[in-house]
Symmetry: C2
Subunit: 356 residues, 2 copies
């Protein structure tokens, strides 16, 4: 029952297997008559070529592999929480694979492994994916890039921020988004703005911080070192940093956390100190996490179009796989972001008082 092969199709259509193969792969120099016969046989039999056989015989595997950081995955798994970035990335990649007849494989990469290079090489030779999507922080791991380059693998780096000239990239301007967010706070009248840095594991953390600092300078606002704390992108770290920030005297009138989870933590810290947001303290985040629209108050944040990024990346990968000449495919693709102003950001208390 299991196997209708190219031979069955060829026999039914009364042609050679090579002709079936030609039709399947949309090659030129195939007469309409032949194409019709073959297509009919394919439909009758419900035939679909074996991925393994194609991969073994030909140059394409019709596989796109998404590389995901293993540590992160374990962390999420342990904490019982999902990974919003992962699912959004996949949605985009799947949408694009869907029509092109490609398949999406998700692979864990242990960036800290001492055998990383070897593992990457092994993965490539075992899977032979037509393209790879590198998610952060894997997209900034030079060992991974070296291994892929060594094998001539085609990849797109998502949100990459290091070694910008290597490979293809799809990214958004984190620095500028953070700049805009800071300006948003400044325009509301905030002068005393605290900042919580993200995990150093992500290159984006640095950029967000730079965007913040640049904006502060341009607006003549002082960046107080004691108001710039380092978190690790978790709620807990946001809670701790928030508590420290709000315990100081004087304390900032606004806090910009490098991601939403930390912003939620700051919000919580504010509540514990008897502060109400945004009346006493404005809090803004970054990511537009699933909870951002349900938090109290709803969180002002930056939305990164992750699905669109993955779509673009997958489209590039498939184009290269099909064109054979990858020269025509763009090397860098920038996507836009959206600053979503919700309830958690408002004018500072002083300004409010003055306005009364």
């Amino acid at each position: 029952m299991s196997g209708v092969t190219i031979y069955d199709v060829a026999a039914r259509a009364g042609v050679s297997i090579k002709s079936v193969s030609r039709v399947l792969n949309g090659e030129r120099n195939v007469s309409e008559a032949l194409r019709g016969k073959v297509q009919a046989a394919v439909d009758d039999l419900g035939y679909r070529p074996s991925l393994s056989a194609r991969g073994l015989a030909g140059a394409s595997s019709y596989l796109i592999a998404a590389l995901v950081d293993a540590d992160l995955t374990v962390e999420h798994w342990r904490s019982g929480r999902g990974n919003d970035y992962l699912s959004r990335m996949e949605l985009g990649a799947l949408m694009e694979c869907r029509h092109a007849g490609y398949h999406l494989l998700v692979e864990l990469v242990d960036v800290a492994s001492p055998n990383l290079e070897r593992e990457m090489l092994a993965m490539i030779s075992s899977l032979r994916p037509d393209g790879l999507i590198l998610t952060p922080p894997v997209s900034d791991c030079s060992v991974v890039l070296d291994a892929l380059d060594q094998r001539g693998a085609v990849y797109v780096r998502l949100g990459a921020e290091a070694e910008l000239s290597r490979g293809r990239r799809v990214y958004m301007d984190d620095r500028r988004a953070a700049y805009d967010m800071t300006v948003h706070l400044a325009r509301l009248g905030h002068k005393d703005i605290g900042f919580i840095i993200g995990s150093p594991r992500y290159a984006a953390s640095r950029l967000r911080r730079e965007g913040f600092e640049t904006a502060m300078q341009r607006h003549g606002l002082a960046v107080r070192p004691e108001w710039v704390l380092e978190g690790d992108f978790t709620f807990q770290s946001g809670l701790e940093c928030g508590a420290r920030l709000l315990a100081r005297e004087p304390r900032p009138t606004a806090v910009f956390a490098s991601n939403d989870d930390m912003a939620f933590g700051v919000l919580q810290a504010a509540v514990r100190q008897g502060l109400s947001a945004p009346a006493d303290l404005s809090v803004v985040g970054f990511d537009d996490a699933p909870g951002a629209q349900f938090s109290a108050p709803q969180l002002t944040t930056v939305r990164q179009p992750v699905a669109e990024m993955a779509e673009a990346a997958t489209r590039m990968l498939i184009a290269i796989a099909q064109n054979k000449s990858d020269a025509s495919v763009e090397r860098v693709h920038q996507v836009g972001y959206t600053l979503i102003a919700r309830e958690s950001s408002a004018p500072p208390p002083a300004r409010r008082a003055a306005a009364n």
Copy 2:
């Protein structure tokens, strides 16, 4: 550069390719000496067998395919939101694939397609996965099950609630969880409890409703038909149902929404009517969505161990693939749930007043 094959390893170890194959597959009847030689050659060369070649020649593909509803994916993609269930499921599956040397493939399934059977058969013959993980609502689609059975494919249905005797299942007791949640409200003193049914697309919706109704009856509480509304698991539908529910006179003192997104909607509807939760109205959900701990008030809900379910499913699949005799592997695996009482559920206003 790309291809170190089994021949290279055999040559280097001074043995036949069959011996290499034996060592690779951990077959018995291999001397330690031979195993050592082969392993050394494998390590030296950084060899890893080609998935395609293995799949083509042998019975195993080392592929686990996760079947995901295409409509849902498109919806999430359109709305720019992630899919928490998907990512949690994958975390679990990946954790389990990881050590066993299996790979996870994510496939979209269009349950509404007129050619669904054909598409499923084609997918199977093209991919030949060693096992399939069916996520809801695909896990309850009989056309899919028929196609898989016809091909003798091995699958595990996640959260399946229909045709319980078919195939293997990993699930949690939705009915009982909903029962418990209803009891939770009853114990707080609520007698007037509204309910929002989930999307009929999911079999779990029916079970949650049944759990609610059974609990109400057992506690001598009336289920008022006008307080039982049908939503579709979206925030918007929760908002609408909530508005309708709260506009009535008398109105319930508690609302049990079949999932968290709808519960968030009810919370929002309460705010718009000038009601404060949980003082005026208790609201509870189901799922423990990412926003549940950040909402205002934090949401009382039921946590489903999705990652653990996927882990168990993957473990079953791999065990079957390796044992060849699938008889020893359990057919049904039930996982526990956790009722998480947060801030959104509290005694009803009357009770509070009486207590004063």
